[in-house]
Amino acid sequence: MSYPVEQNEKFAAYANPERLVSTEWLAAAIDGGALDNGKLVVVESDEDVLLYETGHIPGAVKVDWHTDLNDEVTRDYVDGQAFALLAAAKGISRDTTVVIYGDKSNWWAAYALWVFTLFGHDDVRLLDGGRDKWIAEGRELSTAVPSPAPGNYPVVERDDAPIRAFKEDVLAHLGKPLIDVRSPEEYTGQRTHMPAYPEEGALRGGHIPTAASIPWARAAAEDGTYRSRPELEALYLDEAGLTEGDDVVAYCRIGERSSHTWFALKYLLGFDTVRNYDGSWTEWGNAVRVPIVKGAERGAVPAGVR
């Protein structure tokens, strides 16, 4: 870790406190000139592609999940070369401490962090509470777009296996814990998209057999910060039934909301093996002959699937 880790009581209870920073910490770091030498880079990643332009944390650069992190042709993430170009253009070097924040309780910021992790970027952290908390606290915003000195980023081959699950992996995983982070309406199959969002072309509604329903936003408090460790344990251990050492797969619609849950399970509760199934319901709900359960019950793995 190249930049000092924040110490506070809430974070200390988490398995990996070094993965979060608070708004106070970031404001003090920026005031102290942390952004001047490329050791620390602040990245904003939002759902709304124009939000950064309306005002952002002074000195922050923008990474757009749709145009920067996704491959334009294949449904996949960018390759090592494209990622190296992106990082360097944003002033990020391989040893830079990257702090990511965004709108909607860091929903997309967590997704960007997960993609950085696919490339093995060592020190990447989330701003607890994200954009909304920074603004709610009346902290400074700027519309000035920085032009950072280019970073020095090697071409690193993406290593998907440890944190990313594909459909075949999920089929092989059936019988082990799955967390469905979508809304209850999507889980039961009443609808195939988020409430108040358009239907998005999944042919079947429901959930992957045995998946526990823990909508992603339940891991966030009203101010957009992650809930405390005891609260997260009540959610994922008591309610979802996970136990220490479990191998877990989380999914949603396209893998963005489940990145937020992936972060909580991996870094806040310390599960070693947590994978995000980014194909999620837009793949599973359209795939031929995969098992699906409708309704509020988790259901069982059908005989003959494994």
Binding site: E47, D48, V49, L50, L51, E53, T54, H66, T67, E72, D103, A196, Y197, P198, E200
Partner: protein, 158 residues
């Protein structure tokens, strides 16, 4: 992506056609900047609507809360003019931006002019690469809702 030439712009009202031309003339980052300017330029609701949210309808297909309504205004001799009113939060600049485009492009026009706008007009703005398909569909839904409301109102008064 669809070829722009394949879609005719002949049915676009003058103001909307000018907006489309402005977008087309720009590079992609500049188009986003222009959309941001439209989001800043979206007029506030008049007071009589501000205090009556029940008079506006939500377009649920938009990713951010977007409410709209229409009113008719008598025109000297001609068909009535339709006035458009939108409400969208500042934290949703993309949604607001498109509302701003529709406001500047369609406000004050007749039913005939508004109903002639092609349903896939949002694609003419050249934003389909920069903006996710989900959002593009929200924009299309916003236009669709306006056209449905205008058509219903025009039927009632004819």
């Amino acid at each position: 992506m669809r070829k722009l030439e394949a879609m005719s712009t002949y049915a676009l009202p003058t103001a909307l056609a000018e907006i489309v031309d402005d977008f087309q003339a720009l590079s992609e980052p500049e188009r986003l900047q222009l959309l941001l300017e439209f989001s800043l330029g979206l007029p506030e609701l008049p007071e009589r609507l501000r205090d009556h949210p029940e008079l506006l309808e939500q377009v649920v297909e938009c990713q951010s809360p977007l409410f709209l309504t229409i009113e008719t205004e008598k025109n000297d001799g001609g068909s009535p003019a339709f006035r458009l009113f939108f409400k969208a939060p500042r934290e949703a600049p993309t949604t607001r931006g498109f509302a701003g485009v529709l406001h500047e492009g369609l406000d004050g026009l007749t039913a005939e002019e508004i109903l002639a706008v092609p349903d896939d007009m949002p694609e003419l703005l050249g934003l389909t690469r920069a903006i996710t398909p989900l959002r593009m569909r929200g924009m299309t839904a916003m236009l669709g809702r306006i056209k449905r409301k205008v058509a219903a109102s025009a039927r009632l008064s004819s």
